[in-house]
Amino acid sequence: MTDSSTSSSVGSNRVKRGLAEMLKGGVIMDVVNADQARIAEDAGAVAVMALERVPADIRSQGGVARMSDPDLIEGIQKAVSIPVMAKARIGHFVEAQILQALDVDYIDESEVLSPADYVNHIDKWNYTVPFVCGATNLGEALRRINEGAAMIRSKGEAGTGDVSEATKHIRKILGEIRALSAMAPDELYVAAKELQAPYDVVAEIAQTGKLPVVLFTAGGVATPADAAMMMQLGADGVFVGSGVFKSGDPAARAAAIVKATTFYDDPKVIAEASRGLGEAMVGINVSDLPAPHRLSERGW
């Protein structure tokens, strides 16, 4: 601590978590080039996620998916003034160093890319730039927060257009938080053990009834109704990956999802927003995906 009025600090926990606070109630859209980034910004995206291929293409084309080319990321940074996020592979701390050097606003340590380490995630405390990480349940979210994640997104099943996994994960995380809130103090020790998460943060959540960081949802959101449902379930905001730019009319669909996210509790507005959007992304039922192709099972 210092009492000097000249001292200032960057990269603090509050500043890192703070940017996510400002994104709440908004839609973060996957984009693969500067033109898409401009369309997203014009449609009211609160941030864009720069990546080389949207999850639907990663899924159909196969192969190893990695961090994007720095030229592509810089092109997107130049095209828009809203925050630009970019993905690093799970455990790939050098990709994360590169993204920080490129001055991206948030790093997504993402299961959508091929993991680089099947044991360890990135030690996210070592960076000034904040991280968002995926989670399918509360224990996973807390392990990521313990590693320094400043924002959590429920994983869903990216690149499918099937929202069922997103529903499952956000319900699971919020349900487990509600369960903690109902526990007696002496039950929290075992709860922490079962969640495989540090006791301190478990006790804090039991008391506050919420994660210490912002919780978005992701993976399979393709329509305004999907986005509004995630918000009604309790998400702070929504990531839309393939759902926008794999649809018939990306600009209209993007704007419609933004409207539905703000007015998530007003069916009239959502109905209006849902009209005449053309074709939604084709989609794959998650139940038709063989287990090895389920991205949400990456990360632990």
């Binding site: 703070g18 908004g26 003034s81 925050p83 703000t262």
Partner: protein
């Protein structure tokens, strides 16, 4: 009309199109204020004061125009509605915005020129202790997130605080108050209190 119904104060609104509006609502509720979220003109019509939260100014602008809120809000500001804007909210209150996205508009009211993302990207976001003479001791701990800066202050606006390098980050003009930073992210609510006192004073005079 609310003024006729009771001599008390109508609810205080928090613009809830996007951003950290819940945090502002929590602060105002701690004062005992009746707080409502505002997304529609019908809700705006009820309030005795409004907070415009942090968030993405380009998104708040777009949604406020799309849902018919921008024009009534401009009229309310012109008619003296007390409004406090933080970060994106300060941008929305500025008469002129630099580095806006194409076609971006503001509600205006503050006779200032603001630059968006004036410090750069998230890596440059910071916290610092600020001396705010109007608020006295102790210093205000201010959190700046991809924050704007007031680059020009017109005759009608006055400066409440500046960084050590002289850059202006808090201003006031009549019933309008704007800060580049986020008091709602700290435990120091003196800026909110200053706004709320203005709400009370305005309501009791009308």
């Amino acid at each position: 009309m609310a003024g006729n119904a009771s001599r008390g104060v109508g609810p205080v609104g928090v613009l809830a199109l996007q951003g950290d509006f819940r945090e502002h609502a929590r602060v105002l509720s701690s004062f005992g204020a009746d707080v409502i979220t505002v997304r529609r003109p019908s809700e705006l019509a009820l309030v005795s004061g409004l907070v415009i939260p942090g968030g993405e100014s380009s998104v708040i602008d777009k949604l406020s125009r799309m849902f018919g809120l921008a024009e009534p809000l401009k009229a309310a500001i012109a008619a003296g509605l007390p409004v406090y804007g933080t970060c994106a909210g300060l941008i929305m209150l500025a008469d002129t915005v630099r580095d806006a996205i194409a076609g971006q508009q503001s509600f205006g009211g503050l006779d200032i020129v603001v630059r968006r993302n004036a410090f750069g990207n998230q890596r440059e976001s910071f916290e610092v202790d600020l001396d705010v003479p109007e608020l006295g001791d102790p210093a205000v701990h201010a959190v700046f997130i991809r924050a704007p800066v007031v680059e020009e202050v017109g005759e009608r606006a006055s400066i409440l605080a500046a960084l050590d390098d002289g850059r202006v980050i808090a201003v006031e003009q009549g019933n309008l108050l704007g800060t580049s930073f986020h008091p709602e992210m700290t435990d120091d609510y003196r800026f909110h209190r200053r706004f709320y006192n203005r709400v009370l004073a305005t309501a009791f005079h009308s």
